[in-house]
């Protein structure tokens, strides 16, 4: 242990004070000056640093709206435009937008809920709506607009009531280069005739035989979180299994660990075992596809514009594989709800009704490149109008979308399914892994009293 300098030098205690007097005073001056500066800075920061996002302003005719799209300037600008338009249309209430980054948005909301500081209007990822409604964060929507005109996947219901409504949805799809498929002698899958399981196997075999790629398929196996149930549970559903028994949502037994689910697990791992896909893909599957590191990428409608810009007419967008029960994709994206503690919920509902005008939906959907939530809005966006380049995603959404289970247990189910999927992909036996997930899900549902209202 190195000693401090004071012990290395001979010291005469009586002279210490004098010897150190000048430097000490300098040091003292520095320490004091720095401390005073720090305290002053703290006071200044504190004085000017009170934010304005809390719901405490709601009594004064102002309503806070929280959204997940900080860092997405196009979507945020579109939402702000809708808000500005509403604020300008009346003088009773003013909506204030507060944007958060998407990846951490849920954590911010849950913390605010714990502190009783939720704003009046929040946006929510669709599958989480039942959980938030059950937890008492949200109140049922009472809007002056007809929700039946919305794409079904853009309205989140729980206990028979609508709790959230969105401007758009997204759709999963497979993208490939037409030239690659042609070179391999593989037909392009269509809505009328999607690939069957056998055709998919044949296509991957032929593409791999071309020798152009280490793995011809990229389904984003490096993904985490909500990507896992969003992307892979539709495969399970296409086999005939599911995440939970939807009759009452009280157990996953028989659907997540039944014969169909085990069959799905075997097929899923087989894609990796046969060398068709990596057990862990690159961080950005779309970019890897565009860099010709894969022949087929399984991704979402959000990647379409980028892929189209890079590949032009060589890009083909195909439906997911029909694994027995038809192609399936996950439904629901970001939606809007009104919090149960909102002191001016009438105004909040009025704003939401206003925001669902077709021109507003079209503006936000256009900014995000997502599927507009209604036909009227779609007609205002050439890419999504009849015959438009992106209309196919709207058709996927209408024909294939399966809502993620509308139960407050969904976040837990999603986590367990994600863990099981990764374990299976990494070599775990399917049946015991799925049994374990079912046991955990059933125990969670039971310990929460069945998530009854």
């Amino acid at each position: 242990m190195q000693r401090p300098r004071s012990r290395q030098d001979p010291i005469n205690p009586s002279t210490v004070s004098k010897q150190k007097d000048r430097p000490m005073n300098k040091t003292l001056t520095k320490v004091l000056a720095t401390s005073i500066a720090a305290a002053a800075l703290a006071a200044t920061l504190a004085g000017c640093g009170k934010g304005s996002a809390s719901s405490s302003t709601e009594g004064s005719g102002e309503i806070a709206l929280w959204t997940h799209n900080a860092g997405n300037p196009e979507e945020l600008a579109a939402v702000q435009k809708v808000v500005d338009s509403y604020n300008g249309s009346q003088d009773k209430v003013k909506i204030n937008v507060q944007a958060f980054p998407q990846d951490s948005y849920n954590d911010s909301v849950v913390s605010a809920a714990a502190a009783g500081k939720l704003p009046c209007i929040v946006d929510i990822d669709g599958p989480n709506v039942p959980n938030w409604a059950w937890a008492g964060y949200l109140k049922p929507l009472e809007l002056g607009t007809d929700l039946s005109k919305q794409l079904p996947s853009t309205v989140a219901e729980w206990d028979g009531k609508p709790y959230a409504v969105g401007y758009y949805d997204v759709a999963l799809a497979m993208m490939a280069r037409a030239s690659d498929l042609k070179a391999a002698g593989v037909r392009v899958a269509t809505i009328e005739q999607p690939w069957t399981k056998a055709e998919f196997q044949d296509a991957l075999t032929k593409l791999k035989a071309l020798g152009k790629w280490d793995y011809p398929l990229d389904i984003g196996t490096a993904g985490t979180g909500e990507w896992l149930p969003y992307a892979y549970s539709p495969f399970l559903q296409s086999f005939g299994g599911d995440l939970v028994n939807r009759d009452g949502f009280q157990s996953a037994d028989g659907v997540l660990n039944g014969d169909k689910a085990v069959e799905w697990a075997g097929w899923f791992r087989g894609l990796a075992d046969q060398g068709f896909m990596a057990k862990k893909s690159g961080k950005d599957s779309t970019q890897d596809f565009l860099n010709n590191k894969s022949a087929i990428v399984y991704t979402g409608s959000w990647a379409a514009d980028k892929a189209k810009a890079a590949l032009g007419d060589d890009l083909v967008v195909m439906p997911p594989v029909d694994l027995g029960k038809g192609p399936k994709i996950g439904g629901a994206s970001w939606q809007w709800g009104v919090t149960s503690g909102c002191s001016n919920s009438e105004a909040a509902m009025d704003y939401l009704s206003y925001s669902l005008k077709p021109e507003n939906i079209a503006a936000v959907a256009k900014a995000t490149g997502a599927i507009p939530a209604s036909n009227e809005a779609a007609a205002q966006i050439p890419a999504f109008a009849e015959g438009g380049a992106n209309r196919i995603f709207m058709d996927f959404s209408r024909q294939y979308a399966v809502m993620r289970p509308e139960t407050p247990a969904y976040p837990f189910i999603a986590t367990e399914f994600g863990k099981a999927t990764q374990d299976i992909l990494n070599g775990a036996d399917a049946q015991p892994t799925l049994d374990k997930a079912v046991k955990a899900i059933d125990a969670n549902i039971k310990s929460n009293g069945g998530y009854k209202k």
Binding site: M1, Q2, R3, P4, R5, S6, R7, I11, P13, S14, V16, S17, K20, P23, M24, T27, L28, V31, S35, A38, A39, L41, A42, L45, A46, G47, G49, K50, G51, S52, A53, S54, S56, W66, A70, G71, N72, P73, A99, P101, Q102, D103, S104, D107, S108, S111, A112, A115, K117, V170, G282, D284, Q287, L290, N291, K293, G300, W302, K306, A310
Partner: protein, 280 residues
């Protein structure tokens, strides 16, 4: 020597990759990934990603917030923790060992377990602000700067570090100063603290790093964009289509202050770690 250089090169790889990638377009970043070009500024090099960072994120504001919050936390942390350690090291108070043990015991409680209760507590605290010439009181510290600073001033590890260092400073110095008429505070500021430079440097770095890297806490307690620190800013880039070049540019921007600070205090930091026998 060769081994050292090799280790240095390996350790520098991630930083070099980050800096180089921040100058490349996304497609090239992924294209270069399987070759040495990933670590070389070759191809289509530009500062476009840096320009895009400032378009997407109020980066200057976030940097200013983090510098302010970290600096205040460090300065107040040095003062408060050294005072506490000085009392525990020098003063003869009954039960001080129990107090010291209790302080050390808090080290085993992970912050994540305290986070939610702490959110509730800070939301109950009184708050005042000047509105013109009147002082207004309200409840709750959420969405403020002080909620990012005050909970992290007192730090058990800093107290421990100072305590161990103070123990190595001869008590005869205190006695000499006392003979000269110095009181406790004078001994603290004129005798002990000037000799505890390496400990102060270590505490400064070990306080600065978590304050600078703070993510979970501001995520929970700060809602307004103008109060957010740099680490929250990185989340702005993780949209459905991630621009990795921008991610690297932003990561480079927020790494520079930390590297500069470490280089500035490097010698003292190493001295203190070596002398206190603890790992940082």
């Amino acid at each position: 020597m060769l081994v050292r250089v090799l280790f240095a090169v390996v350790a520098a790889f991630p930083i070099v990759f980050m800096l180089v990638s921040s100058l490349k377009p996304d497609q090239q970043i992924f294209g270069d990934m399987s070759s040495l070009a990933a670590f070389l500024p070759v191809g289509n090099i530009s500062f476009d990603n840096y320009a895009a960072v400032f378009d997407r994120v109020p980066a200057a504001r976030f940097l200013l917030n983090s510098v302010g919050v970290s600096a205040v936390t460090v300065v107040l942390g040095i003062f408060v923790n050294s005072l506490c350690a000085f009392a525990l090291s020098r003063m003869q108070v009954k039960g001080k060992k129990i107090v010291f043990t209790a302080i050390l015991a808090t080290l085993i409680v992970p912050f994540q377990t305290l986070a939610l209760p702490l959110v509730w507590w800070v939301n109950q605290l009184p708050y005042f602000e000047l509105n013109g010439f009147s002082l207004e009181f309200s409840k709750g510290w959420l969405d403020t700067y002080q909620v990012q600073i005050i909970p992290f001033i007192a730090n058990a590890f800093s107290i421990y570090l100072y305590h161990q260092y103070f123990e190595s400073i001869p008590k005869e110095l205190d006695e000499a100063a006392r003979i000269d008429g110095a009181g406790w505070f004078k001994i603290y500021r004129q005798v002990v603290m000037p000799l505890a430079g390496p400990a102060t440097a270590t505490v400064a770095i070990l306080t600065f790093l978590p304050a600078w890297n703070s993510y979970l806490w501001p995520l929970m307690v700060v809602q307004s964009e103008e109060l957010r620190p740099v680490m929250i800013g990185i989340q702005y880039f993780f949209q459905l289509n991630v621009s990795w070049g921008e991610v690297m540019a932003y990561a480079s921007l927020i790494t520079v202050p930390v590297v500069v600070l470490f280089i500035a205090f490097q010698r003292s930091f190493v001295n203190s770690i070596a002398s206190s026998g603890v790992k940082g």
